[in-house]
Symmetry: C2
Subunit: 221 residues, 2 copies
DNA sequence: CTGTATCCATGGCGATACTG
DNA sequence: CAGTATCGCCATGGATACAG
């Protein structure tokens, strides 16, 4: 760990936090992940060796603790990174609206969607929402969101249940909706999203799918 | 600039901000520096080539603008990094109290001190406060803070004026006082700081020297 | 499931010198 | 004053395979 040679607290903080991937791991922990492979899902482009290395660095820095057989947990110090991560997210969503093609990833997106599904808006009986991303290679194109009571599952293989509604759109469009860059209303109006299902169910889809916590951040004028 | 391959706003923000030195440059700009060589004083361990590179990256990212003949200025986007830098500083001062020997630097320290001197607490007539850092190599050991009305100068060469008070201490102790890790009262009591001058002037020294904005941050219990 | 071990290419970055 | 130019090392971290 290279030092900045400065006593300034910002510099000391960045010595711990500015290494590549580090704050994304903290973000995952703040979102509730605790196990190694759970963390991997949040940073899939990271090699396990590097993830392991970063976790040890965070442990040495006192930001996380390994708990016996229970994975990793943020310490008090780590929990206090939440305002920083939140502020970074708010800044990012305001000032970096351009999302490159390489930033789109259906696995990450559906992983995010899954953990924020507002189950209270869904029918009580098991309900399945299907997605077809027109611009994604066939093997990752189709996804199913199955809500059964309080349980939510996100599948990239057909679970075989009756589908209530199918959402047909591009991965980019659905990502933009998730991020709050685009509204359901606008996307439906323009035809960027097409819904297939009964009219009464179609109308509920926007309420079934949550959105990023950062979607509500005001955009610059 | 390597990408994380994630649409998450935190990841997009970190693509811009997690490169080594970047947020320290932003910190300097937030503190009021605008010229290249002014910025260098705040990040003296950085090579000019690298500083130049980072400035161009920040410009491309829309965080700063070059203004004709006036150096660099934060854009609206850049100004909104203030809460992030502040939060990082607060976290750093709370959770990374250990300052290595290599983190101590009289130039950085006196540069910081100079820009926060509360001139309103000083006598109206030109007044000089001298420092002698016992544990610093002779050439960087002696410093003079000269306050004349609203003007503040920090010199590493004797300006030749009468000295009101001399502060004799270690660089570490004075850094700790500046950061708020140690109070003047405790340092004087323990003998870690010795003042030389008339009793009435000696008593004012703590009010003449400001302290880091972060010194007021509550420390963890 | 939870990581380690190993290998290798890349390029980041530190040091130094130099220029308009 | 405000940067470029050049060089070279070594660490970063990506990929892959493997182990407790």
């Amino acid at each position: 760990m290279p030092s900045y040679g400065q006593f300034c607290p910002v510099a000391k903080a960045m010595e711990v936090l500015d290494e590549r991937w580090t704050l994304l791991i903290v973000r995952e922990l703040l979102l509730g992940s605790t196990r190694f492979n759970e963390l991997r899902r949040g940073v899939p482009k990271m090699s396990p060796a590097l993830l392991s290395k970063r976790l040890r660095a965070l442990e040495r820095a006192g930001v996380i603790e390994r708990t016996e057989g229970k994975g990793y947990a943020l310490t008090e110090s780590g929990l206090e990174l939440r305002p920083i991560v939140d502020a970074l997210g708010a800044w990012g969503v305001r000032w970096i609206p351009q999302i490159g093609q390489a930033d789109l990833d259906p696995h990450l997106l559906m992983w995010d969607v899954r953990r924020t599904v507002p189950v209270e808006n869904w029918p009580r009986a098991r309900t399945t929402l299907a997605f077809a991303f027109s611009d994604v290679a066939p093997k990752d194109r189709y996804w199913w969101l199955v809500v059964n009571g309080d349980e939510v599952d996100s599948c990239d293989a057909d679970p075989g249940y009756d589908v209530a509604v199918t959402v047909a759109t591009s991965l980019r469009t659905f990502t933009e909706i998730w991020r709050g860059d685009l509204s359901w209303a606008a996307a439906l109006r323009s035809g960027a999203v097409k819904l297939d299902g009964s009219a009464s169910l179609r109308r509920q889809v926007p309420d079934w799918v949550g959105s990023s916590l950062l979607s509500q951040v005001a955009r610059p004028a």
